[in-house]
């Protein structure tokens, strides 16, 4: 699961402080902020992928609940080998809850599980987006101040 922890050592840098910093310090701040923004973007993408997979699972569950018992189906044994079979009990489903544990649940509980996970991921996603946009504004500000200072130190070019 993607965790919403930020980077290891974070310093709160206000825009007032950045005006006073030297060129090198500003460059370091901007690079650090850019790296953090990229990390946060990666986490956001991971959450999006995981949410997509959960929504697929939820849709598959819903589809399964519509199928009658005894319906003929093809069971995958390997990626290219399917064997014919019949649908036995579509009310019980096995849910993977993590670290190798599986729980037998009813169809309703399974759907509920998917929904809970999707909501958890969505709230993580929202939290991360906030943090990411704050970091991005910081990185952009640092970039602007850096450019302004560069122009200052070489006015005749």
């Amino acid at each position: 699961m993607a965790s919403s922890r930020g980077g290891g050592s974070q310093q709160v840098i206000r825009s007032g402080d950045m005006e006073k910093m030297s060129l090198d310090q500003l460059k370091a701040v901007k690079e650090q902020a850019d790296i953090e923004v990229n990390l946060l973007q990666d986490s956001l993408n991971n959450i999006r992928t995981a949410t997509g997979r959960l929504e697929n699972a939820s849709a598959a569950l819903h589809d399964l609940s519509l199928r009658p018992q005894g319906k003929k189906m093809l069971v995958p044994l390997t990626a290219s080998l399917y064997v014919p079979g019949t649908l036995d009990d579509a009310d019980k489903v096995l849910v993977d809850i993590g670290t190798g544990y599986f729980v037998e649940k009813t169809m309703a509980e399974g759907k509920d599980y998917c929904e809970r996970k999707i909501n958890l991921l969505k709230s993580n996603f929202d939290q991360l987006i906030e943090v990411a946009s704050k970091k991005k504004t910081l990185a952009d500000e640092a970039g602007l101040i850096l450019q302004a200072k560069l122009k200052q130190s070489s006015p005749s070019s």
Partner: protein
């Protein structure tokens, strides 16, 4: 004259040794961070599992994947196992925290020692230039 240049060489050797120690310390700190990250992720996953197990009825069926085999487990046993794992991981994280602090202190004092040696080298070279 030769005695001061051997002293200089000794100082530079000392500087090199300290610089190597510092880079080893930094590698250890980076490894500590990596292991910490792995344990934190595992801890989070195990806590999720525990939450799910708590929501179950007493008679719900729990299975554990051991290699390619899905084995039926007792709910109480599964709870106990997950709790034990969470305890173990928390203890490991605490231990890592302690050793990280220790490493960072060592890194700090190593940096100061390096600075001192550098200053001695500089004053040595300044002294040699004047003489």
């Amino acid at each position: 004259m030769s005695s001061s240049s051997t002293a200089l060489r000794e100082l530079q050797q000392d500087l090199e040794n300290k610089a190597n120690d510092l880079s080893k310390l930094q590698k250890d700190i980076a490894k500590n961070h990596q292991v910490r990250k792995k344990y934190t992720i595992q801890l989070g996953e195990n806590e999720l599992v525990l939450k799910e197990l708590d929501l179950l009825n007493e008679d719900a069926n729990v299975y554990k994947l051991i290699g390619p085999v899905l084995v039926k487990q007792d709910l109480a046993e599964a709870n106990a196992n997950v709790r034990k794992r969470i305890e173990y991981i928390s203890a490991e994280l605490k231990r890592l925290d302690g050793s990280l602090q220790d490493l960072e202190e060592k890194q700090h004092s190593k940096r100061e020692a390096i600075l001192k040696v550098q200053q001695r080298i500089q004053s040595h070279q300044a002294g040699k230039a004047k003489a």
